[in-house]
Structure formats: structure tokens, C-alpha cells
């Protein structure tokens, strides 16, 4: 089976690099083809890379608290750019302050993210989900997500 391509990066003005380096190592190890854009990545840079590499998914990180601002409108932008059905994951410390994860999930789901993870995400479980989601996407169906 061919490896699924995923684009990885930390959005906005966010400099938190450690988790990003670990995610790169981890997903590569789990058999994904990882395009890592590092820190301080804009929405368009993510989308450019996804288009260029035919990626199945974009994994957005936001740690520093401005996620609510930086991540808004990402799905709409994907649609505008013609990759509206790309898989969008987001994870990290997604809002300012300590909040109920369920609230955070609702907020980001309303922005169009498919799956939302806190800083305690179990990466093995994430990789399993991602593999399934990518596989499902690879099977052409009549209905869109």
C-alpha cells in the first residue's frame, strides 16, 4: 500500500517547535509521508503544500493560544482553493486558558476541522484514526464528507 501524504505545521505566529518535531518523527515512523512545514505557517502555506504534494490530510498545530484567531476560516479557504474535501486535523493548546475539551471541540468543529485533539492526544490512536480517514477518502464515493 502506498503511504498517505500528510502536511504538518504550526499555524500563525506560533514558535512552539518541540511537539512539531516529535509529530514529524512519529508519523514518519508510522508509515506516513510527512511534509513538515515547521512553525509559523500560514493557512495558504499549508494549502499550497497540500496541493503540491497531493496530500490527503493537513495536521495543524496551535499551542500558543491564538488558535481561535489563526485557525478560523481554514476549511472555507480550502474550499476556495479547490481542496475542500481534504482531511483537516487540529491539535495542541487550542484556546487561551484551561477550558473544557468538549467546548473546544465544538468550537473547532464549527470551523470545519474533522478531528480535534488536546495536548494530551494519544498519538498511536491518532495515527490509527488518520490511517482510516485517509483510506476512506481514497475510496471514491458518491457522497462528500
Amino acid at each position: 500500500m502506498e503511504a498517505h501524504t500528510i502536511v504538518l505545521g504550526v499555524i500563525g505566529s506560533d514558535c512552539h517547535a518541540v511537539g512539531n518535531k516529535i509529530l514529524e518523527a512519529f508519523f514518519s515512523d508510522r508509515g506516513f509521508r510527512v511534509i513538515n512545514l515547521g512553525v509559523m505557517v500560514s493557512q495558504d502555506e499549508f494549502i499550497d503544500a497540500a496541493i503540491e504534494t497531493g496530500a490527503a490530510a493537513i495536521l495543524v498545530s496551535s499551542l500558543y493560544g491564538h488558535g481561535e484567531i489563526d485557525c478560523a476560516g481554514f476549511r472555507d479557504r480550502c474550499i476556495e482553493r479547490g481542496v475542500g474535501d481534504i482531511i483537516l486535523y487540529v491539535g495542541g493548546n487550542l484556546v487561551i486558558g484551561k477550558h473544557d475539551p468538549a467546548e473546544v471541540e465544538t468550537l473547532y468543529r464549527s470551523m470545519g476541522y474533522d478531528r480535534i485533539f488536546g495536548p494530551d492526544a494519544d498519538l498511536d490512536a491518532v495515527a490509527d484514526l488518520l490511517a482510516c480517514d485517509c483510506a476512506a477518502k481514497a475510496v471514491p464515493t458518491g457522497t462528500s464528507r
Binding site: 512539531n20 512553525v39 491564538h66 487561551i96 484551561k98
Partner: protein
């Protein structure tokens, strides 16, 4: 080893200054003469340099939180609340301002106003301008410092120092390499020469502003020799521009032998390098950052980490401690969580400050090792710079002679790999191009090999990853499961 980087000339400075002040509308409100009068009119108890000097003389360990929110009134409320629980106050700047993205900061302020709570991760001081910042400073009864992470912090310095802040964190390396992706080092170093010169100009008028290089860098398994080298470079660059009050920083590694040794050696090395470079008229103090890596999510466990940081700081007699909170793993702390971190820290420091500072032969051996590492790296920096510390530093990073682990910057080699040894001290697994003395490198290798043997696996990247997660998972050394 002497460096001849000149102080920024008045001409160069003034030329930059007009551009800097024009880069955002609030820059126009800076009035240097007025601000000198303001600073001079203030009580010594509100001046960071003065308070640190006195604490140092008494052997006291002061405590300082991090704190900053988007809106002025909220920010004042926050600091007014915290000042009863700490000795020194911060104003933590938001991440848009740090990147000079003042439009986005403005948007953040507006959206925060609408939302009724802060959507920014700090206080956008440039947007609030001199008058807003002055209101902050005047509302408070403790010295206030600007804490940020800004590679080009010239306008922020102009505004906040004019407003009455008496301490300014950062430096051309420490606020570039861990905080940015692609800002050339020479550029940030030059921009920070401006900041230091500005502080020097305050000094020329008899107003002492404290400067604090950011010690922890990436906060993640940074070997003391690396952060010490960066601190010394930024200290020297500041002194060259006329700064006189310098607080050298260090982020807790977690091993008490290493942490106490690191703080001792940092102070010793500061005096060694500063006096060797011909400086005599300066004040040197130290700051210890409680654990800067990933925290445990459990608040009770976070308290454990916080208290252990307070313990090491007190046993090493740091001049001040930067305090974490039980919310660290989750998000910007509430006022209340911030207070809790301060109270836990205060309790430990109080209980310990009557007790003798800790010193053992192991600590001395560790301190000597750190010193020899730093001297070796600084010797290479001097060679590479042939008289210029700025050039030496730029070339040292290019060559990987200084290498900060896990930093996001492209201008950092990222070849050095640290890992913990069996006792929990941070050791060198892969030195990259950092010129460790041969016998010291032998020591590191032996220590890492010991651990590898003990864990029945070769020294490997997984070991490093395990170490990165270890504290957040309730340990210090990342043992295989």
C-alpha cells in the same frame, strides 16, 4: 578574549529611531526627556535594578510570575491582584506583537473586547501605547518588567521604557533562535544593540534599567553550557552598549546537582567574562526559571514540579525565580492559578531561605565542567569573530559551534542532541559541531552509555523523546516502558 564591537553611534541610533517610532502610530508619543523625569521621580522600590541589587546583597530569593492579557483594564486588574503575592511584576507581551504584527494584535484587542475575555496570549503594549503602559506602571507598587520573545523589539522598548517599565527581557540570540523561523541572526543582534543602546541612554541620564537575557531558550533539555554561552554573549553585548544591570538566566533542568552547579557557574562565568572584557561598573544578578518544558496536566503534579523548582532556586540562592502555575500544561493561567503558583513557591522559598545553600563536591565538579565547556565555546566564538562579538556569534551559529536543541530557527544547526543520564542530568548525546573539550565529551559519552546499558537499549532518538515527555508523565528520566 576581547571584543571590540562599538556602541551604536548617536548618528546610527537616531537614524534608526525615526523609522522605529514611525513603524506604528503609538511610536510618536515617546518623549525621552519626559520619561527620564518620570523614572527619576519614582521611588527606588519601583526600580527593578535597585530591588534586585538589594535582594542580592541580602541573599534573598525574589519571586515573579508571568502575566499578560489583551485589554488594559483587565491587565491592570491582573497585576494589581498578583502584586500582593510576588516581589516583582511582569508584563508578558502577546505573540503578534512579538512578531511586530500590530494589526493582528489590534484585531485581537477588538475581538477580546467583544468576547469579554482575552483572546491574546499577552499584553499588546505597542498598541496600548505610552499612555496605556504608563497607566499600568502607575497602578502598581512593585517594579515591572517587559517579558516577551521579540527579535525586533526596538519599538516595544521605546514605548515601554518611556512608560516607566524598569526591566527588559531578551536578547538578539535568545529572542530569535527559540522564537522565530527565519530571522537572520545578524539582524536580531543589530536590533538588540539598539535596545541595549537605548537602555544605555537611560543609564547616561542616571536611570538604571535592568536587562535580562532569556536563559531557558527552547526550554527543552538545553545543556547549561549552551544557555550560559548565549547569556554571556548577550550580557557582553549589553555592556558594550552601556547597560549596567544584568540578570543572567537559567531554566531548570531538574537535576539538583546540575541546577545548583549551573546557577553557581553562571554567576562566576558572568564575572569572569565581564571583567575580562574590561567591564567593572556593572551589577550582576541571576534568575532561575522553574521547569520550562512540558508540564504534567494534573494540577497536583504541577504543584510538585513548581515546588521542586522553588527548592532548587532557594538552595542555589538565585536572585529571583520565574514561577509557573498549576495550569501550565493546559493554557494561560487564570489569576487564581497564577496566585497558587506564587504561593506554593513562596512557601518553599521561605522555608528554605533560612537554611544553608547547598554545596557538595559533586556540585563543584559539575560547575567546573560547565565552566570548561563554556570557555571552550566562547574561545571559538572569539576566534570566529576576530574581535567582533556580533560576527563571532553569527558565525558560531552558522558553524553549529553554538547549537540550541529543538529551536525552530533555520539559523540554528540543530545537530546537537541532549539526553539525560542515569542521575537525571542533561548530557550530550550527539555534540554536533559544538567544540566540547575532549575529556568533557568523554565524560558525557560515558554517562550516556551508562544509561543506555541500564535501559538495555542503544542511545537513540527515542530516548530523547522519552526524556522530553518524562516530566509531563511524572518522571525526570524517560525510561522505556
Amino acid at each position: 578574549m576581547t571584543f571590540h564591537d562599538a556602541p551604536l553611534s548617536r548618528h546610527d541610533f537616531t537614524a534608526q529611531q525615526s523609522d522605529v517610532r514611525a513603524s506604528w502610530p503609538t511610536g510618536a508619543d515617546v518623549d525621552f526627556a519626559e520619561s527620564i523625569r518620570f523614572h527619576q521621580g519614582r521611588d527606588a522600590s519601583l526600580n527593578m535594578a535597585s530591588v534586585l541589587r538589594q535582594a542580592d546583597a541580602r541573599g534573598a530569593v525574589l519571586i515573579q510570575p508571568r502575566a499578560g492579557v489583551a485589554l488594559l483594564s483587565e491587565h491592570i486588574r491582573l497585576l494589581t491582584f498578583l502584586q500582593d503575592h510576588c516581589d516583582l511584576l511582569p508584563t508578558t507581551i502577546d505573540a503578534y506583537t512579538r512578531q511586530n504584527r500590530y494589526e493582528e494584535a489590534q484585531k485581537g484587542v477588538e475581538r477580546s473586547r467583544e468576547a469579554g475575555h482575552s483572546l491574546l496570549n499577552g499584553f499588546p503594549a505597542v498598541n496600548h501605547g505610552v499612555a496605556g503602559c504608563r497607566e499600568v506602571v502607575e497602578s502598581l507598587s512593585k517594579p515591572v518588567q517587559v517579558r516577551h520573545g521579540t527579535p525586533d523589539a526596538r519599538l516595544l522598548a521605546e514605548i515601554t521604557l518611556a512608560a516607566g517599565f524598569s526591566s527588559y527581557e531578551g536578547g538578539g540570540v535568545s529572542y530569535n533562535i527559540p522564537y522565530t523561523k527565519d530571522v537572520p541572526l545578524e539582524r536580531s543582534l543589530r536590533n538588540w544593540q539598539y535596545v541595549d543602546r537605548l537602555v544605555g541612554m537611560y543609564e547616561d541620564e542616571g536611570v538604571r534599567i535592568n536587562r535580562e537575557p532569556f536563559g531557558p531558550l527552547s526550554g527543552t533539555l538545553v545543556p547549561p553550557c549552551i544557555s550560559h554561552t548565549v547569556g554571556l554573549i548577550e550580557g557582553l553585548l549589553a555592556l558594550q552598549q552601556g547597560v549596567r544591570s544584568i540578570t543572567l538566566g537559567y531554566g531548570q533542568a531538574g537535576s539538583y546537582v546540575q541546577d545548583i552547579a549551573a546557577l553557581q557557574s553562571l554567576r562566576d562565568l558572568g564575572h569572569e567574562f565581564f571583567t575580562n572584557a574590561g567591564h567593572t561598573d556593572y551589577e550582576l544578578t541571576t534568575v532561575f526559571h522553574q521547569w520550562m518544558g512540558g508540564f504534567p496536566e494534573s494540577e497536583a503534579r504541577a504543584f510538585g514540579v513548581i515546588a521542586w523548582g522553588a527548592t532548587a532556586a532557594a538552595l542555589a540562592r538565585a536572585t529571583k525565580v520565574i514561577v509557573k502555575t498549576p495550569h501550565e500544561a493546559m493554557g494561560i493561567p487564570t489569576m487564581e492559578a497564577n496566585r497558587q503558583g506564587l504561593e506554593a513557591t513562596r512557601q518553599v522559598i521561605n522555608m528554605l531561605s533560612d537554611q544553608p545553600p547547598l554545596d557538595t563536591p559533586e556540585i563543584q565538579a559539575e560547575a567546573d565542567r560547565i565552566k570548561s565547556e563554556v570557555r571552550a565555546i566562547m574561545t571559538r566564538v572569539a576566534e570566529l569573530g576576530s574581535g567582533s562579538l556580533v560576527d563571532g556569534t553569527v558565525r558560531a551559529f552558522e558553524a553549529g559551534v553554538i547549537d540550541v536543541p529543538f529551536a525552530p530557527s533555520k539559523h540554528n544547526r540543530g545537530k546537537l542532541l541532549p539526553v539525560r543520564d542515569l542521575d537525571g542530568a542533561v548530557r550530550i548525546f550527539e555534540p554536533g559541531n559544538v567544540p566540547f573539550p575532549a575529556e568533557v565529551m568523554e565524560f558525557h559519552r560515558a554517562r550516556v552509555a551508562d544509561r543506555a546499558r541500564h535501559e538495555n537499549r542503544p542511545p537513540c532518538f527515542q530516548m530523547v523523546i522519552d526524556d522530553i515527555y518524562a516530566v509531563s508523565k511524572g518522571n525526570l528520566v524517560g525510561r522505556p516502558r
